[in-house]
Subunit: 130 residues, 2 copies
């Protein structure tokens, strides 16, 4: 059963912010990276490149957590613990939609548009603080 | 063998900032929370309360990652993947030192000073970006 993001903190998920995505490596150590993200209905999506360790971690262990700090108050936070699913983005259209969402031009954006996949995070548990 | 924090990003570990500590729950899902932290030599320490899930996660699975975003540039980040060890802080003196480090008065600080432990993160792998 999916958890929902409370209205009190939905602004953090809707913002074009920098979140912290944590996955678990094969050695059991969490890996955390800064990511862009898009709230779509009740799930969070983002674009991953298949060369990245977080992609390999998610294929092996499809559980991840997105943590968002309010940039104006780091004690106001939103933690989204989630089941992770991965889908193809062969034409990079989803990648381009994320780049657009963040106000950038995909044509000039300095990240590879090949070998892209769509990560969907379906919340299992949501913890809002502050 | 411990990893070291590069001098280029040591300021982030030395700052009195808010980091993101990720542990792994018994269900395999990462848990992330906002934490204070102190760089002491080549390890990171913080104070935990034993009632918290992150404490229980660390007892069961002593691996954790601290992720620090530069508050002035969220694309400048420091990821510290670490072995976690826990020690007693029966008199709460370590807890008080962290509160002092963050410019607060332990006598009036609104967090319980009983049931405190000291978490030491010994870096295994450090990733600096930006």
């Amino acid at each position: 059963m999916a958890a929902t993001i409370p209205s009190s903190h939905r602004d953090l998920a809707e913002a074009t912010g920098v979140g912290v995505l944590s996955t678990v490596g094969t050695d059991g150590v969490p890996q955390s990276t800064a990511v862009w993200y898009k709230l779509e209905g009740d799930v969070i999506r983002t674009s991953l490149h298949t060369s990245r360790q977080k992609y390999r971690n998610l294929v092996a262990h499809p559980l991840a957590t997105l943590f968002i700090l309010d940039p104006t108050n780091p004690y106001r936070t939103l933690e989204i613990r989630a089941d992770a699913t991965i889908a193809d983005d062969a034409d990079a259209s989803y990648f381009e939609s994320v780049v657009h969402h963040y106000g950038q031009d995909p044509a000039t954006f300095p990240a590879p548009s090949d070998n892209r996949v769509i990560l969907t995070l379906t919340p299992r548990r949501v913890v809002a603080n502050g």
